[in-house]
């Protein structure tokens, strides 16, 4: 069972200088599971997400994706750092969507989506474009393929960003507060796109402040605070019946 986990974290620790951001995170995400992570800002949610695709290096503990350690290779009882090319190959199998979209502003929506398939996976332009158009259509942007990011609304930009991540055919998707930079009326369209992905059976970790979404789409809900997991369980249970004081006080402020 343990080896079947898509993501497995065992007492993961991470510090920035003297600031301890993660202080022993243990969790498991099964294939096709949707895990939502909530918690106050500074609780380490985003940092943990960034550790999973090695944008941040962990200091202690073990973190593995699909049975392979993140950033290291183990031989006997010694760890070897992975070469850049290995890190890149592993990152290409994990999709990530950012709070601030981070679309490439000098490329059209289509060019944004086909960039990595062409240059990282060495797909032909025709193959990549065909799939990119399908993906953009799927997130409802068939008409916007030739638009530049600054000609799109925030919600449209974020949906392009989702299509861009999906174009690499990832086995895991990470969402870092995907709706936090959006106007309230644009949040729904992005959540709909993520919900559709969940229905297709994508394994996902979603850091979010949208409790309704977490309850409805998430299989598990994790509440983090101060670099540790305070509480985890079925979203309905955690939201309706929190066990810890800290969870209760957080939920009473956001619900």
């Amino acid at each position: 069972m343990a080896s079947a986990a898509m993501v497995k974290a065992e007492s993961v620790c991470k510090s920035f200088g003297r600031l301890e951001v993660l202080r022993g995170i243990d969790l498991e995400v099964a294939p096709k599971e949707v895990m939502c992570i909530i918690g106050p800002s500074g609780s380490g949610k985003s940092t943990f997400l960034r550790c999973i695709n090695h944008l941040e290096k962990i200091d202690a503990g073990r973190l593995s994706v699909d049975g392979e350690l993140v950033g290291y290779r183990q031989r006997g009882d010694r760890l070897f750092e992975l070469a850049d090319s290995e890190v890149c190959r592993k990152r290409s199998e994990i999709g990530m969507v950012f709070q601030r979209f981070n679309l490439f502003p000098h490329m059209t929506a289509l060019e944004n989506v086909i960039e990595a398939p062409i240059h990282v996976k060495r797909e032909s332009r025709a193959t990549a474009s065909a799939r990119a158009r399908q993906l953009l259509e799927r997130v409802g942007l068939a008409e916007k393929v030739n638009a530049y990011p600054n000609q799109l609304s925030g919600g449209q930009q974020q949906r392009v960003a989702i299509a861009r991540a999906l174009a690499m055919q990832p086995k895991l998707m990470l969402f870092d507060e995907p709706t936090s930079a959006l106007d309230p009326e644009l949040v729904g369209e992005v959540l709909d796109a993520i919900r559709a992905l969940a229905e297709d059976g994508m394994t996902m970790i979603v850091v979010t402040h949208e409790m309704g979404f977490a309850r409805e789409v998430g299989d598990t809900l994790v509440f983090m605070d101060g670099g540790v997991i305070v509480e985890a369980g079925k979203p309905r249970d955690v939201l309706a019946n929190p066990q810890h004081e800290r969870t209760k006080s957080f939920l009473s402020k956001v619900l």
């Binding site: 290409s92 679309l103 490439f104 990282v120």
Partner: protein, 334 residues
């Protein structure tokens, strides 16, 4: 309530108040300053025109000489040589500058230190001295090649004097010096690109080189291009330092002519006219290059001078339209 919905009362055609007719404020000092400026400009131009006109040392009137020499093949050849030097030196400067900037920002301490030392040295010594150095390289090394210095045996070698012509000396001097400045310009461009761009690209599995080439540099161009245009214009004039190595570009040639005919001012005017003409063309070119790299950064491209001129003609007699015409961004094919 009703006021908000109905808008300003002036829309009611019958009650429009009379337009204001007031006597404008007088600006006497504008007229005074204009007169002073005209007087000074007139005096200076008259002095130059007159001096050139009655210069007794030239054959015939000085202005005839300016007119004649402006289009002589000797000078035109110099113009070409100046352009050639500018293009080559900027090419070396830009390519080496990008390389140095990327090296400078590399996590590898060896490459970043090498880059730092290069910039420190080449930015810290005068370009004139550098050209002089390359031109006199023969005094330092007699042979350039692969072997055991200083006297061989050589696996392969060329005499320094055969290899370093005055053309090579000037091109190297200008290009290597420019690279140090371009490196700083490119570095500024690279660090101006938001860090989220690097992260997004890395998250897609792109390696460092790919991120730099496909994502960072194209966006850095918007910051890099204006000062590079400035550098090119500056370079066009700095090529005149080639006179130290006797390379026959525009200034060297006009110098030679002026020495023969004792026509210093005339030939300086000839050279200046050509330098001005070339920098003017470069200025216009720079505008269009900047416009190209603005795509994706502005919702609509700024109008070209021609478009602006045309719009001005149409709106000359009537107030400008409240909604500016939108210029459709050309789709970019690669």
């Amino acid at each position: 309530m009703t006021d908000i919905a109905s808008g300003p009362p002036s829309s009611d055609s019958g009650r429009r108040p009379e337009a204001i007719k007031a006597i404008p404020v007088r600006h006497p000092w504008r007229w005074v300053s204009a007169v002073v400026v005209l007087a000074i400009a007139g005096d200076v131009s008259y002095t130059i025109i007159d001096a050139v006109q009655r210069d007794p040392t030239t054959f015939g009137p000085g202005w005839t000489m300016v007119g004649t020499w402006l289009t002589k093949p000797l000078i035109l050849g110099g113009v070409l040589a100046t352009l050639e030097l500018t293009v080559l030196a900027m090419l070396i400067g830009i390519l080496l500058g990008v390389l140095l900037a990327v090296m400078r920002l590399s996590p590898n301490p060896v490459t970043s230190t090498v880059s730092w030392l290069y910039i420190w040295f080449f930015r810290g010594t005068p370009v004139l001295v550098q050209i002089f150095f390359w031109f006199n390289l023969n005094a330092v090394v007699r042979h350039i090649g692969v072997g055991v210095p200083p006297d061989g045996p050589w696996l392969f070698a060329v005499g320094t004097n055969q290899l370093i012509s005055s053309f090579i000396a000037v091109t190297l001097g200008l290009g290597l010096n420019e690279a140090a400045y371009m490196a700083e310009i490119v570095r500024a461009g690279i660090i101006s690109v938001e860090h989220g761009q690097t992260e997004a690209a890395q998250a897609l599995g792109m390696n460092r080189l790919l991120v730099m080439r496909r994502i960072i540099l194209p966006q850095a161009m918007r910051v890099i291009v204006p000062p590079t245009g400035n550098e090119t214009i500056s370079m066009l004039k700095t090529t005149s330092l080639a006179v130290i190595a006797a390379y026959p570009e525009l200034f060297t040639r006009s110098e030679q002519v002026s020495n023969v005919y004792f026509a210093v001012i005339e030939m300086a005017i000839v050279a200046s006219i050509w330098y001005l003409a070339m920098t003017t063309v470069l200025t216009i070119g720079q505008y269009y290059i900047e416009r190209y790299f603005a795509r994706g950064a502005q919702r609509e491209l700024p109008p070209t001078p021609l478009q602006r001129f045309r719009r001005m003609l149409f709106t000359f007699h009537s107030p400008p339209p409240t909604v500016p015409d939108v210029i459709v961004m050309p789709s970019v094919h690669r």
